[in-house]
Amino acid sequence: MSREPFIQVNDLHHNYLRDTPLEVTALRGVSMEIHKGESVGIIGRTGAGKSTVVQHFNGLIRPREPGKVIVDGQDLSDPQVDVRRIRQKIGLVFQYPEQQLFERLVGDDIAFGPKKLGMEQADRRERVKWAMEMVGLDFEEFKDRFTFSLSGGEMRKAALAGVLALQPEMLILDESTSGVDPRSRKELLGRLLALHKEHGLTLAFVSPNMEDMAGLVDRIYVMDKGRVVMSGTTREVFSQPERLREHGLGVPQVTEVAHELIGRGVPVERIPVTVEEGEEEIWKILNS
């Protein structure tokens, strides 16, 4: 892990519909740091400002005074910055996949990014094939399908493939795996985690659901009402269920069970965040 953060966000404020009577505040001073090779979770209930923050990461929304967003050493408030290069480094998959497929055919849609990068036809084909395999869409079967004829889950996969095809250094998933059936979701996340571990892909998951995060991320930022209200390692955050509840969030069921056990006087050594850890803990308790 390098010392200089990959993404550094400082005192970020953002208002939607600025300068109109309908102005709404989305961010009220958010600061975050994400290092290269990390896997970070951003959680919070709806309206907390999660999506607004991540759209700053790749320059879709530019920081306004006094906020600062520095990505890979480049200050995004500088209008001269080459945002296209930033966007190639930082892949963002949005919340609603059906709204981000814009080509007619699935193959063309996934090839959009590589084409914009100026890749040759043959390389492009390879890249699209690779991206589709990553998300679990069969290349031959899906490349000539109409994007709008896909099912919700397939659309999500196609949208993700379209971003993966850029081979970004960091991938942000804004609730992009909800609606994918549990088995493909597990496979998909497994492949992403493999990329994360083997190739150092930086990951950021955005979700209102704690269950999604367990076992995926090293660190968590909890947001509420436009602020970061809690941050720390996954275990640190999950060990404070009361505070999470205050912000309208829960902890994974297995963590809930562990807290319940502690409440009834059962000694739990280490608060589990995944089912596997929970199993381990319970065996320990039963054997002691």
């Binding site: 790749n58 709204q99 971003v163």
Partner: protein, 285 residues
Amino acid sequence: MEDFEFLRNITIGQYLPGDSIIHRLDPRTKISVFLFITIAVTFSVSYTGNIILVLVTLSLVLLSGVSMRYVFSGIKPAIPIIIILATLQLLLYGEGFVPYGMQSKTYFHWGIIHITNGSVQLVIVSAMRFVELLFLTSLLTNTTTLANITHGMENMLRPFSRIGVPSHELSLVATIALRFVPLLAEQLEIIMKAQASRGADIAHKGKLQFVTTARQVAVLIVPLFIDAFRRAEDLILAMQARCYVGGRGRSSLVQLRFARMDYVAYALSLVFSAVMLVFRNSFPF
């Protein structure tokens, strides 16, 4: 630097909550006042008439409490087209156009280009009319919820249903059309963001910017329409699921009622517009 938030630029048709006299008027009154003054604007060709109309509509907007900045920010995207149109009018319309209330005078003539005091008047009067209509539209749509406008329209069209005018359906169509404007803006924002995220060059700067912008817009139109159709289908489904059958026998939650203010507004705007119409040719210039 690019800005994807198109919703900020859509001010017409956006209801702004408030409690001014204008806000409290019955929607039918507002629609009628809107129609009366619009007619007066349409027929007014003189400087004097338009100065009066600008002042009247301006004071009405001030009365509604909607900020001037908000009203004008809606026309920002249209400014280039307005300038082009005004220039064409100024250069090409002079020949044979008789200005109101003065002798024709040619300032400049070369080939097909005629600049006369007539074309100058035309440009200035058109600009004033534009502002007047902008004020009027803002007056109606910024102070009245869409539901109320529809309700008012339906109510006003009801007498015509005897001769086969589908008043309920017409007002429903109008509502849905207006409702889709912000939705399309939002959708455009999402598609452009999605394309930008995958390396599309949205904020292209350079000599051929105009061409690339046009090409980008073409790329955006297809997904925008596909989405609009999808939304329309969802809407049909949602309406059917709630047993929507159309206007016949349908009661409404809000009963419209005229207050004293409504009669006053009706009478004043009717008299004003009538005077403007009758005396439209009697102004000195």
